[in-house]
Amino acid sequence: MKDVELKVVERAKALLASGEVARVVGWKKGDFCFDPSPAVFESVEELDGLVYNWFCGANLSKYLIEISKKEGKTAVFLKPCDTYSFNQLIKEHRINREKVYAIAVECLGKLDVEKIKAKGVSMIEDVEVVEKEVKVATAYGTETLHKPEVLLTKCETCQKTHQVKDEEIILHERPARDVDRFAEVAKLEAMTEDERFAFWKEQLSKCIRCNACRNVCPACSCVKCVFDNPASGISAKANDAEFEEQLFHIIRAFHVAGRCTDCGECSRVCPQNIPLHLLNRKFIKDIDGFYGEYQAGEEAEGKTPLTSFTEGDVEPNDAVDGEAK
């Protein structure tokens, strides 16, 4: 992974130095090795702080909404899943394509530090991954973990490829894999109504309305969100009753339905670890079932499933779990 990081830093410095771009969007080193955070680099010196390691899970495309409005071009590093969000934002005229230089960067899956800590590993200093083995160097010695167990949830079912690139930095080919990303959703659908209600009631009751999911979601980037707008009738800052917990997540999932690229950021950032991706994936599974395979963000133009129709669409009364019952 270090070779890729070197190439990333080198390209970033070259682009910035040559003046081809006015700034570079990447990940900045945090206090530890496992907490890099998205950052804008505007000078070559700053780029020393640029990192690309096993914990760079953040999706950078959303930051380009504001940054692409600035003068001059912006270079950005996009993992395969980020490119779908990038395309979707171009389709919605939120990012100005000409002002962005997209560098497709290789990704073999990112790690989840909470899962590593949950395995009892602490005082982490460095991480190295070889094939399926994760070697975690800590103050108490080196631990070896099995990669699939500590991957970010969104990477467990990832079959994504780069959709857009002006340049690419791919040194290792990713082995193709066949994973059913709807397995969890199907499991929930198989439950009885009461079980499903209990499951979601328990999960959503944890929600503290910190809006992290909304603030990180590329599809959820309204200039003024309906929950912040008192005139909308459903504006609320806190879930003071059970209904608000459901209302917030149902409306948010509905607003991104047909536009969500399943990038998994919402689940990654939720402090209460609510499996929010299972909500959006339900809509994706239904849309695929009712109206045919559709992956948001594959193209940068055209209509989404909710702004198009066919004469023979399924009737709502019999439409359940992707089929007409």
Binding site: E92, R94, S221, C222, V223, V226, I234, T304, T307
Partner: protein
């Protein structure tokens, strides 16, 4: 603070019978914001409206709620009354406590409670109403008539006589429609062509009328007063301006085997032909499926013999785009197909014919030159049996559930004409009920029975079968409780009629609502029978329901009156309840334009001032109020709720929901 007046209508006893109107008015009196509450027998009456006007002035009300019948009935009335009293007409809300409450619930306590809730809901909405000004849009002083039958011709003539330009778009090569195929017409028995052709000539010569024959409507955009219609001029392969109608080409054309639709396929016609003698425009047309030149490239005889060089094999469909203020639909009808009725043996016996085919056989311009001969062996039929209600009044799914209304009269006409011309012919009519209502109709039918001795048998025919050359018509005679079989030479089926199938496409183009039998639905069965719910679209003739010629003509004139009433106006009030984006919240994401059926939404880059002197250019949506019809599809697609609908804003509907659920 809102000062709201509430008026509860008794509607005579329609509401007062099951709703305690006094109690409703009392309970509503102490609703927050209500300063005046009254109830009256007839709110929509003159002094009912006077009560409103007086209350507005006296209590200087800011909004009023009327608990009465459906808003679709009197919303306009109460809005006009409020306007005359100086209040903005859109500060009026109606609570439907008749159709949705008093008429459908029995228990007094329950209906009163519901009435209070419905009125409270209307109050919740009116509190959030904003005064709206109806916009205006220009009216294009030209009408379009789709269909050139008697309905279309009559409507066009009346409109043109009022001085407005009219375009008639006719699918076939000539106008005249179904009536041109008839021999005589009831109840006066005067010859159909004699009363139709003069009107056709008037149309042709009227400087205000433009006939677009052999053409179809391709696309309709816009709305009442501003329709933009694209018309496809199908290729005739004959130049209309040159052809003089001399018919030499018809004689010379070698491809004679085409089935002559005008004579219901009973005889043939050449590939190049003029449908019938008095055709308007009197111009030939080439049938591409039958013309040897167009199919194989050989021949071209008609071009050689044409004295004026009007034939042009390269002619292609052309498109014409025109603007209209109003559209009259007069697409007419056709007899239903009889595939589901093989018990009458129509498919396997040439001598089992439909009434329209009989019209052609009896018509002088028909295949037998007006002499009634059997299609099979051209013999004169001695015994003719008529069978009524073939396919009509049939709810089993094979036919049409409705009564086709005109068959009893035209069968009586046929029976009388046959008995009069050929007195030796035996005529029998199997019927379920003879339906001849109206002026001189029953007397007409009785003449057929009493003066011309037509044998009417009450009972339906079970089946018709061929036995050594004779047509055996087996049916029941309910009066004598017998099953009888009549040996007949000719069997005439009074076939059910249905609207022209192409009307379905036109209904979608005009967003005119249409029922399951393909008849266009009128705006109100009794009060607005000739208008479609879609503003600016009018219905004439059988496209709206089965009717005979007198009714069709009167409906056509009624349409003309309505169209003239519309075209006289220079400006039309447009619906003010249109979409309105809030630029500060708009993401410019383009989703709303995807769902707008009228293309009313466009995007512009606009400069916004941020804090500290900085500004920002953002792409925002704008709505053209003249084009937007206020459906609201865009308001739901817009995630941030920037797009809202005036008159039905999200906040208003939310407050209605809250008022309804508050017990």
């Amino acid at each position: 603070m809102q000062r709201i007046g509430v008026f509860i209508c008794w509607c005579g006893s329609n509401i007062a019978a099951t709703v305690d109107v006094v109690k409703v008015a009392e309970t509503i009196k102490n609703e927050p914001g209500v300063v005046f509450a009254a109830n009256y027998q007839y709110m929509c009456s003159e002094n009912g409206q006077q009560l409103i006007k007086q209350a507005i002035k006296e209590h200087n009300l800011t909004g009023i709620v009327v608990g009465a019948c459906s808003p679709r009935m009197h919303e306009a009335t109460f809005r006009k009354a409020a306007e005359e009293a100086g209040m903005n007409p859109y500060m009026v809300e109606i609570a439907n406590i008749r159709e949705h409450c008093s008429w459908i619930h029995k228990d007094m306590e329950e209906t009163t409670e519901k009435a209070v809730v419905l009125v409270r809901t209307a109050i919740a909405k009116v509190k959030l109403n904003a005064p709206l000004m109806a916009g205006e849009s220009p009216v294009i002083k030209r009408a379009l008539v789709i269909g050139g039958g008697i309905a279309g011709i009559q409507a066009a003539l009346d409109i043109a006589d009022a001085g407005f330009e009219v375009d008639i778009v006719e699918k076939n090569a000539t106008i005249g429609g179904r009536m041109a195929q008839l021999d005589k017409t009831f109840p006066t028995l005067d010859c159909s062509a004699c009363i139709l052709t003069p009107k056709m000539v008037d149309c042709a010569q009227h400087e205000k009328i433009d006939i677009l024959s052999y053409s179809e409507v391709e696309e309709v955009k816009g709305f009442v007063g501003n329709f933009n219609v694209k018309i496809r001029r199908k290729a005739r392969y004959v130049d209309e301006s040159k052809c003089t109608g001399c018919k030499i080409c018809m004689e010379k054309c070698p491809a004679k085997k085409g089935a002559n639709e005008f004579n219901m396929g009973l005889d043939n016609r050449p590939a190049i032909h003029i449908p019938f003698a008095q055709a308007i425009p009197n111009v030939a047309v080439i049938d591409p499926e039958q013309c040897i030149k167009l199919k194989t490239g050989k021949c071209g005889i008609c071009q050689k013999f044409c004295g004026v060089g009007a034939i042009d094999y390269e002619q292609k469909d052309t498109f014409v785009e025109r603007q209209y203020g109003a559209i009259v639909v007069a697409t007419g009808f056709k007899p239903i197909a009889l595939d589901n009725f093989n018990e009458y043996g129509y498919a396997d016996n040439k001598d089992v014919i439909t009434s329209l085919e009989l019209e052609r056989l009896m018509n002088a311009a028909g295949p037998t030159g007006g002499v009634l001969l059997r299609p099979s062996d051209k013999q004169h039929p001695k015994v003719i049996t008529f069978i009524q209600c073939v396919g009509s009044r049939d709810s089993s799914g094979c036919g049409k559930p409705y009564c086709s209304k005109i068959c009893c009269m035209y069968t009586a006409k046929h029976a009388m004409l046959i008995r009069e011309k050929y007195p030796d012919t035996e005529v029998h009519v199997f019927y379920i009920d003879v339906r001849t209502p109206g002026k001189n109709y029953d007397e007409f039918h009785r003449r057929a029975v009493e003066q011309y001795g037509v044998d009417y048998i009450k009972g339906m025919v079970g089946k018709v079968y061929n036995e050594n050359g004779k047509l055996m018509v087996q049916g029941s005679n309910l009066i004598d409780n017998e099953q009888i079989t009549i040996e007949s030479d000719l069997v005439v089926l009074a076939t059910a009629i249905e609207p022209e199938p192409s009307v379905r496409k036109i209904a979608t183009l005009l967003t005119a609502s249409i029922d399951t039998n393909n008849f266009l639905t009128e705006s109100h069965a009794k009060l607005r029978p000739v208008e479609s719910p879609t503003a600016g679209v009018y219905l004439a003739g059988v496209c709206q329901g089965p009717k005979d010629i007198p009714e069709t003509v009167s409906q056509a004139s009624a349409c003309a009156a309505k169209v003239i009433g519309l075209l006289v106006k220079d400006k039309l009030k447009t619906n003010p309840c249109v979409a309105q984006p809030d630029e500060n919240m708009c993401n410019g994401c383009g989703q709303c334009a995807n769902v707008c059926p009228y293309g009313a939404i466009t995007y512009v880059d606009k400069e916004f001032r941020l804090g500290g002197g900085k500004t920002e250019i953002r792409r925002v949506a704008t709505v053209n109020p003249a084009v937007c019809q206020g459906c609201g599809a865009c308001t739901v697609t817009c995630p941030s709720g920037a797009m809202d609908l005036k008159g039905f804003s999200s906040k208003q509907i939310m407050s209605e929901v809250e008022a309804i659920c508050k017990m």
